[in-house]
């Protein structure tokens, strides 16, 4: 790298981009720098750190809204919310465990830029569903805003959602505003044991189709000889939880008698699932994939991969999310994974692999040509010279 920038406000961010653009220097944008291993490797001539752009700028608990500068640590945002008994409902995951970095370091900007979520995705959406306002510096060195601080807003095009999940390739987020929700008073988890993938999937579908508001549904097939476990999470007031546990036990009795975890044990268990701990602990020498599909097709998708290669995996989102490790070798089993996903419908992201592999194959799901054409053309609107995280998602974008 020949240059590095550490802007302290929006104006300095504009200046940094303007300078880098005039010098023709592509920039790698980093918040906490915890997810540099996610995406295609970037050939950057400059580094832009958001480390100095920090601070919560607005927090109105009674209005369920919080704003923070993009470099603010997620942990600081969550601590402020915690003090008022609130939370980011979409349960943003921490990639620390996957990349062997300490936990708790990601920035709030990266939460939006990578459209993070967690097990509660099935109930409360992803970051894009809670993100209600952004301030952005584009690749033309212009500051703009979209959305605002109110949760119902359809004024103009939704460039808030369009910024979420763009991995910093359309603009540098300088400030983000999220809708927040109250934390649950009580959390409980029902744990069923010994189910195969297909039975677990049916169990989760039945539970999620009940009126009992499941906020997490995951299946951990036996890893390293452990017994398979299927987990259902309930959140709310204690009286309501007790009632719903009773009803679910009755409705799901054909799957066996579940163990019940209390609030503390539940939180630990779901944090581990959120951060992919069951696989992250043995990820050396392996590549890690994240696959989103329809729950009913997930077990056969997993089977299709397993018949072709060694794979360890678990399911979240009622079966709709598969985390899967395969031997890294030279191609992270890409042809096998892509073929299985194409057959089932859905999309796969290569979350962890060597730089060489990530430079050689598609990390994100390849897009149909008309959609790829739109992708390139919208990139040109926001970053015509391709200086922001160039090719991080797709070659040439």
């Amino acid at each position: 790298m020949v240059a590095s920038y550490e802007p302290a406000d929006e104006k300095e961010t504009v200046e940094a981009v303007t300078e880098a653009r005039s010098k023709g220097l592509p920039m790698e944008i980093a918040g906490g720098g915890t997810k540099r291993g996610l995406g295609r490797p970037i050939q950057a001539g400059a580094a832009l750190s958001m480390a100095k752009l920090t601070g919560i700028t607005l927090y109105e608990p009674a209005e369920l809204v919080i704003s923070a500068k993009a470099g603010t640590a997620l942990a600081d945002v969550e601590a402020a919310l915690d003090e008022k008994g609130q939370q980011l409902a979409f349960e943003p995951m921490d990639y620390g465990a996957i990349y062997g970095a300490p936990a708790g370091r990601p920035s709030i900007g990266s939460v939006a830029a990578c459209n993070l979520s967690g097990p509660r995705r099935i109930y409360a959406g992803a970051a894009r569903d809670s993100l209600i306002g952004v301030r952005v510096v584009t690749g033309k060195g212009e500051a703009m805003k979209n959305g605002g601080r109110v949760m119902k807003n359809v004024t103009g095009y939704d460039l808030v959602k369009f910024s979420a999940g763009a991995f910093g390739t359309l603009g540098i987020l300088t400030e983000v505003t999220f809708k927040v929700l109250p934390q649950a008073e009580t959390t409980a988890t029902l744990v069923f044991s010994g189910l195969d993938d297909e039975s677990a999937r049916t169990l989760m579908s039945e539970a999620l189709s009940s009126p009992f508001e499941i906020t997490g549904a995951a299946h951990l097939p036996g890893l390293l000889g452990d017994e398979a476990r299927t987990l259902l999470r309930l959140e709310g007031f204690e009286a309501s939880i007790t009632y719903r546990i009773g009803e679910l036990r009755r409705e799901l009795r054909s799957y066996g008698a579940p163990e019940v975890l209390d609030t503390e044990a539940s939180k630990a268990e779901w944090r581990a699932i959120r951060d992919v701990k069951p696989l992250a602990e043995r990820v050396d020498g392996k590549a890690l994939w994240r696959i989103s599909t329809a729950p009913t097709r997930a077990p056969s998708l997993a089977r299709a991969i397993r018949t072709k290669t060694d794979a360890d995996l678990f399911y979240d989102w009622g079966g709709g999310l598969i985390w899967l490790t395969v031997p890294e070798r030279s191609d992270a089993a890409e042809p096998v994974v892509r073929a299985a996903v194409a057959e089932a419908g859905g999309h796969a992201t290569l979350v962890r692999a060597s730089e060489t592999i990530r430079a050689a194959i598609d990390v994100f799901e390849p897009l149909a040509e008309p959609v790829m054409a739109l992708t390139r053309a919208t990139k040109s609107v926001f970053d015509p010279d391709r200086i922001l995280n160039p090719s991080r998602m797709y070659a040439g974008v």
Partner: protein
């Protein structure tokens, strides 16, 4: 006359009218192309009835392939297109133009697939909002976004405007309940964004299309989330002697950790009209009425209502009335959902749709009262209090052109006030033509330039619903010749 300027029709297009219609007839069955003046008349306006323009022609395609053929042809001819669902837009989103073809999706109303295990429904977008819920009702499922016009409005229009509804406090708006779409670009290219799984790959084109007011593409099919109904639901009515007390009560309920499925607010004039219409048992001698609904089992409902009642006590409600039966609950909601229609029987009105930070509620309501009074007009306030989405109805006489002009100016002042209070021009109805010229109050030139540049990517000639959303001044020069692929 009204103050909002509509661009003059393109003389060249008008001169080629019969050619264009002949071209459309070559692509579609006879009955799918409407050119007769009497048959075009029903399409000349939407729910913003002060504005009327007779379209060049109306086409009613039945398949995505037909939509693609129509758009490819009109793109090559450089003819404007206004896509239309049921025409219930309060913002003039479906208002045609004399030089535009209306593309109605009403014939594409099939349910294609329902999957209860994955909790998804795949439908054609001409289906009405309520019909999605009706299709899954026997299995105790429903489609969550519930705009007041849900009996008539289509999913197509809901996607175009990112519609909300009374229950979005808990369940979110259209964009949060949409998993995938099939859409046709202006050049005829068919694209798919998302699917029946979570998180669409690549850029969030699904999110971008939702709420783009028919300016980027014509959506033909969608996969939406369906949800299992709660075991039960019950509203409670609470009357207050002041807007301040009602507003503070809402803030305390939300601050306590309870998120009801809905918190609706009506002021005295609105209560009176709705009660006369629906006989819902609304109290008539209060300044502000809250309808708060909670869901769950009998025990859960009782628990939440108890908690809400004890929070409300500090704000001294003069009336607290829990619904005692499903019939009573239905009447309470009928009154609220019929509010706009009931008001329309009493007076002409313009329905505003700003959102404000909920903490500003009492001050903004007071200011709205002053603004309306300064114009010598009346107002009734109905809104979603939980998320600060206001619907002041400005009452006026449509037969008096001066009154309409005053009502529009009054509405503009109210919406500008919403923006100044930290909110926005529109929470769920969309910009349309109604709020087009106010966009400069909420956005900078740069903010708008990027949005318009995005339109240019999808529709380089600016043919899709072009008179809407963005002020006419300061627009980029549209591409003149058809450019083929949007790349």
């Amino acid at each position: 006359m009204t103050d909002i300027i509509l661009p003059p029709p393109d003389e060249g297009t008008l001169a080629r009218r019969s050619e264009i219609i002949a071209g459309l007839r070559r692509l579609l069955p006879q009955e799918s192309v409407i050119s007769d003046i009497d048959e075009r008349r029903p399409y000349e306006t939407d729910a913003l009835t002060a504005y009327r323009r007779l379209p060049l022609a109306v086409v009613l395609p039945e398949t995505t392939a037909e939509v693609s053929a129509i758009l490819r042809f009109l793109n090559a001819e450089g003819v404007k297109v206004v896509a239309r669902g049921a025409g219930t837009s309060l913002a003039g989103g479906a208002l045609p133009a004399e030089d535009a073809v209306v593309l109605g999706v009403a014939k594409m109303s099939k349910v294609l697939d329902i999957n209860y295990e994955n909790r998804t429904a795949q439908v054609q977008v001409g289906i009405t909002n309520i019909a999605i819920s009706q299709a899954v009702e026997h299995a105790e499922f429903f489609y969550a976004p519930d705009p007041s016009s849900q009996l008539a409005c289509t999913l197509a229009g809901n996607i175009a405007m990112n519609s909300g509804g009374a229950h979005c406090l808990k369940y979110g708006v259209t964009t949060n309940n949409l998993l995938g779409v099939k859409a046709v670009l202006m050049d005829g290219t068919v694209v798919e964004f998302g699917g029946d799984y979570l998180d669409s790959p690549g850029y969030d084109f699904l999110g971008l299309l939702t709420g783009s007011e028919g300016q980027l593409a014509v959506v033909t099919e969608a996969t939406v989330r369906i949800l299992r109904k709660a075991e039960g639901a019950r509203p409670v009515l609470m009357g207050f002697d002041s807007a301040d007390a009602a507003g503070a009560c809402v803030a305390d309920i939300i601050g306590s950790g309870i998120i009801p499925v809905a918190i609706e607010y009506m002021d005295r004039p609105a209560i009176k009209v709705c009660e006369n219409f629906a006989h819902a048992g609304y109290p008539l001698d209060v300044e502000a009425l809250l309808i708060i609904e909670v869901e769950g089992s009998e025990e859960e409902i009782a628990f939440y209502l108890d908690k809400i009642a004890s929070i409300a006590e500090a704000h001294k409600p003069s009336v607290v009335k829990v619904s005692q039966s499903d019939m009573e609950s239905a009447a309470i909601w009928k009154g609220r959902k019929a509010a706009f229609g009931a008001m329309g029987r009493v007076s002409d009105y313009l329905c505003m749709d700003g959102t404000i930070p909920t903490g500003q509620l009492p001050q903004v309501l007071k200011r709205i009262g002053e603004i309306v009074e300064s114009y010598g007009l009346g107002v009734a306030n109905i809104f979603h209090a939980g998320d600060g989405n206001l619907h002041p109805l400005i009452l006026y006489d449509m037969n008096d052109p001066e009154d309409l002009r005053k009502a529009e100016a009054c509405g503009a002042d109210i919406l500008t006030l919403c923006v100044e209070a930290g909110g926005c021009l529109t929470g769920e109805h969309g910009v349309g033509i109604e709020k087009r010229d106010l966009m400069v109050h909420q956005f900078t030139e740069t903010d708008l330039a990027y949005q318009m540049a995005v339109k240019g990517v999808f529709d380089p000639q600016w043919l899709l619903n072009p008179a809407k959303v963005f002020p006419l001044e300061g627009r980029p020069e549209p591409a003149r010749a058809p450019v083929g692929k949007a790349a």
